[in-house]
Subunit: 274 residues, 2 copies
């Protein structure tokens, strides 16, 4: 038996999240169907089990989710990506396929996940941007948000940053880095000639990105951190309340769960690959 | 009578271009319907005429197209944007509305239009990017493209860069600037801490942007320039052929029309506003 690892990217807009469900279209469901067909065509007997790394919510995007399956099918490891893409809709792509050790597990092998939460802060939303960004009309003070960055970093009990319904024993998680970035509206990177050439547009504003890396996350944790930082940036929640949320674990001390569309799972880096 | 100017942004994916058509959904058609309803509700008598600046093709996006209409309706100039947005689908937004002089005309008042053509140059397309970028598998040499930048700049007969069907007397146009930019795959701007943190992904590659500003463009001109520059970057068309295309006006010396989805009309700057 060989264990094949897939790196998967998707536009989550039209999916009810990653995890397979009875009466809804999910990324895992569509990928599982394509994989079952492919392996069956190649002579694989029986059901195929797909194990995913991150069960992203409905509407959340990914540029690097990870899944594995075991098969006896003889095909060059990198070919599975191309064969699957030929059977998948355009909004799901397998970016890479490769053979990994039998011991590798997408969820249990220690890893570092990087998520980005993007906010479009303009007077009026721009349709070419809002598919992957949460639009906010009110002017956000990014310096306020930056003052709260350090509060999240390290090993903490993130009970206040977890939606009800999570079935986990411990709510202690480690955030390795969290940074808030600001870009001019052109989207071409700050300070470049290209950026400068286009900033004098009708709808001045900025794009804010919250980039967070950690070894594990609770249900809705990144979206609640984003919702909390947004309230801080709007002057509606002070830094001390955020500190207390971490110390005391009261969900009401954290902000609301920010909308799914702004969140993208960027990358999962495994310790075994470094 | 007041003349009201609208700055309009749209995701062109689901539209058969700007210009109103009988049996197709177009941006102008949808905007005209919303405007007619709004003005009629406000007591405006008779048909409303909408005059657009750029008749973008099917699938082309805009972050700053311009249109005007005349009305006697008394409403604060900036309110038209909000009132129209309440009646428009989410993939069309009026970014600004303002009263302009009766002499202002979206097409005849001298202006500078900026278009961006975006290319995703990776092994496998990334679904969160390909809605607004043309995906190319083969590695493009951006330095080759840059060598061709200057050929286009200035006043030239662009007959070789115009699709058949254009009903114009003169094919002389002026390109004021043309620049080819490269960004790392993270999309966060080159050389930034954020960019660096995410470039080690499964699907290494780059985003190429062709930014072109001119006082007027022929039918499909920007897309044919992009198609030509792509061939130059792939080593399939040499710089001398591109020079000859400008000098002799033979369409076969230029490249193919690059796909619509990669093109965005970024901004139109009028001389009367400077």
């Amino acid at each position: 038996m060989r264990r094949i690892r897939l790196i998967i990217a998707y536009d989550g807009t039209n999916y009810s999240g990653w995890q397979i469900q009875e009466n809804a279209t999910t990324v895992e469901g569509v990928l599982h169907d394509a994989l079952s067909e492919l392996l069956s065509d190649m002579g694989h007997d029986g059901e195929v089990e797909l194990i995913g790394a991150s069960r992203t919510d409905a509407g959340v995007h990914a540029e690097g989710n990870v899944a594995v399956f075991d098969t006896e099918v003889q095909m060059a490891e990198e070919k599975f990506a191309y064969a699957l893409n030929a059977r998948l809709p355009e909004d799901i792509r397998v970016l890479r396929s490769e053979e990994v050790s039998d011991n590798f597990h997408p969820r249990y092998t220690p890893s570092h996940k990087t998520y980005v939460y993007q906010i479009l802060n303009t007077r009026i939303p721009i349709p070419t941007l809002t598919r992957y960004m949460h639009h906010l009309y009110e002017d956000i003070d990014i310096n306020m948000m930056r003052q709260a960055e350090d509060i999240f970093i390290g090993e903490h009990d993130f009970s206040a940053f977890c939606s009800a319904g999570a079935q986990v024993k411990s709510k202690v998680r480690t955030i390795e880095s969290l940074k808030v970035y600001e870009e001019p509206l052109s989207g071409f990177g700050s300070g470049t000639e290209k950026g400068e050439a286009l900033t004098d547009s009708a709808n001045r504003g900025k794009i804010i990105s919250i980039v967070v890396t950690g070894t594990g996350f609770l249900y809705n944790m990144v979206r609640i951190i984003a919702g909390t930082l947004i309230e801080v940036g709007l002057g509606r929640r002070d830094i001390d309340t955020v500190r207390r949320a971490i110390l005391e674990g009261d969900r009401t001390d954290a902000g609301p769960t920010a909308p799914a569309k702004g969140l993208t799972l960027k990358r999962i880096l495994y310790d075994t690959d470094q």
